[in-house]
Symmetry: C2
Subunit: 359 residues, 2 copies
DNA sequence: CATTTTTGTTGGATCGATTCAAATTCCGCT
DNA sequence: AGCGGAATTTGAATCGATCCAACAAAAATG
């Protein structure tokens, strides 16, 4: 009768079960979390009462507060949430993170936001034990925001100057060198670079000054790698146009327009991401230029899509999945230390590069 | 001095700040959650103390318990976590869910597990306000598990008999009819069906009995749709081979082997998913058969990949993104009612279907 | 039969915040 | 000075569990 009067107003708590079954809340708790230590008879009785009262089991909200650990990691970016499912690089990375999480039974919470303010709030209030940060556009802000939370976090893909933050990156210089050498050895002498940003919110041709004062040192390292290697082949790198894009369709196409507007079009393009490289292939084809007969293109990243394009993309492949796995593990078994790892890259020659045209 | 002695042992709580600043915890709490109601002078003092003591801001764990709402929805499946980032259907769906979540500032928690036991635990302990269930293989178990949690949930893509669970599906019968009519009108008379499962853990040719006792009524509805429409063209559907797969590479290829092993190979294949359709195209090409000249193929789903294949896939397109959006919203503004929605489908004719070969 | 050990149960303390009714302070005004 | 009402601040109660020291009962031991 009492139960009827109470109505459905509020969900049943563990304490309600305890009272109804005539045991202490301590015992009731044990029935669910350590059933082996309670006498079988009592255990069954409590379970029966719980079942009959429609108890949903211990509420994780309560358990959480007591336990302190959430057993989930947050993956954050400044892009909208759909980025995680759209962007090929992010997807492969997430696969790696997922793997590590699956292995330990940890959950994944996706954190992101339309605007600045909401992002701050979402990071503040995410129920996680730590963060993996996708530091693309706006990466430094993301790091600052996350630092406030005073939880472990790893920055990805940024080449962050700041030695006090844990990070996993790749050997940008070495990778870039491989790409440059490959093209130089194929006889190319006129180059152009489709670059990632050296700092936030910038597109257009990069000045040497912009490069020197780069916030994103990963971008700078790639450029340095290209240039160092090309120099060894006697190429005057000062003349190579470097166009900063936002690693998406619009600014990349604008960059290509700008690059090909000048008198001497390049015969080889070094793109700092597969995304840009793929867009470039598309743009060139539409323009009636043949890849690789007229222009060779090298990407950077090694996303699966690159293998499927026409022609398939020559690229510097990062061990993306492995980076994801490591990042997740770094959070999962965090020991308070700052860790900075640099992974090797692999040069994958496919069909988008060929000998320089005779011209 | 005191702070030095205390060491880093345990993080600073709001209560510590309150004490240090000489205010009650009530006021300290207000400083962070409703700053406008506390006197500027006090506010600044408390903030200064917090800053100086290295307070990370109100811990969401504590806040959560009090607030009751997590402001996040769980998306669950029986597949491993990476399914969300690999599977094209899932990805589009997630994009829709993300959109709805972005709009309201809600978070997304991915729930899944390698094994049965862990899945149960993960669902039990997920910090979410409700679930969106990807009911593929093992969907009914997933529903049972989730029901225990007594939180709102929506089942997707299952065609669940059970009228007591909220669900969003598509008009399977109508969609299947469109596909069947299209092929019949093109003159095809010999068909085969690559089917999704009628119940869990089954592959191979489906018996009429299996179809009749289907757990997944969505699968059954599609078949019914195909058959009803084909009958109207005078086709004897009893002779059409229906092969149940697990909607992945291996069993789909096995199905194709089995189907083409018989004397009279089909000239048209009705696949119940784009995934299978795409695998079929691949398999046929490897066998030297031309699509659509020798065999026509119709998919189901309308995933973006279908537009990119060679030839591009003719398919029944579901409004996947919209389904995702609605599912998320159903959880986000849940009102206690059970809602069952059926969305329309759109028939998209592309290049994988053509006139039946003269033979 | 007294004493130790084992096994099970209890209930208060705790996790870290928010809420809200009641108490206090502040202010302008007569 | 005294008063009413607005603006602030207080502190106890609450959210829903787990943990653990202390205790009780039952079993084993001398």
């Amino acid at each position: 009768m009492a139960s009827l009067l109470e109505g459905q107003a509020r969900p049943i708590r563990l304490a309600d079960i305890a009272k109804a079954a005539g045991v202490s809340h301590g015992t009731a708790s044990n029935v669910f979390s350590r059933p082996e230590i309670v006498r079988a008879e009592v255990r069954e009785r409590v379970k029966a009462v719980a079942e009959q009262m429609g108890y949903a089991g211990p509420d994780p909200k309560g358990r959480l507060l007591r336990a302190g650990k959430v057993n989930a990691i947050g993956v954050a970016t400044t892009e909208p949430l759909s980025y995680f499912f759209d962007d090929p690089f992010a997807r492969v990375m997430m696969a790696g993170i997922s793997e590590a999480c699956d292995a330990t039974g940890a959950g994944i919470a996706l954190v992101s936001a339309a605007n600045q303010e909401k992002l701050a709030w979402n990071i503040q209030s995410a129920l996680v034990d730590g963060f993996v940060l996708f530091c693309i556009e706006g990466g430094s802000r993301l790091v600052d925001l996350t630092r406030e939370r005073r939880l472990p976090f790893v920055a990805l893909e940024l080449g962050f100057q700041d030695e006090t933050v844990s990070a996993i990156g790749v050997d940008n210089v070495a990778g870039a060198r491989l790409a440059a050498r490959h093209l130089a050895e194929l006889g190319h002498r006129r180059f152009a670079v489709l670059s990632l940003g050296f700092a936030d919110n910038r597109t257009g041709f990069a000045t040497p000054e912009a490069v020197r004062s780069a916030v994103y040192t990963g971008t700078r390292d790639r450029l340095v790698g290209y240039f160092e290697e090309l120099s060894r082949f006697g190429i005057d790198t000062a003349k190579i146009p470097v166009y900063e894009t936002e690693n998406e369709e619009k600014s990349t196409r604008a960059g290509l327009e700008a690059i090909f507007a000048s008198g001497e079009p390049p015969t080889a393009i070094l793109a700092m991401s597969d995304r840009m490289a793929l867009i470039a292939i598309d743009w060139l084809r539409a323009r009636g230029l043949n890849v690789p007969a007229d222009v060779s293109i090298v990407g950077f990243d090694g996303v699966p899509d690159g293998a499927l394009s026409t022609p398939p993309l020559t690229t510097i492949a990062q061990p993306i999945t492995e980076i994801g796995r490591r990042a997740a593990r770094m959070i999962l078994d965090h020991d308070g230390a700052v860790r900075r790892e640099t992974m090797g890259v692999e040069f994958v020659v496919r069909g988008s590069t060929g000998p320089a045209p005779k011209a």
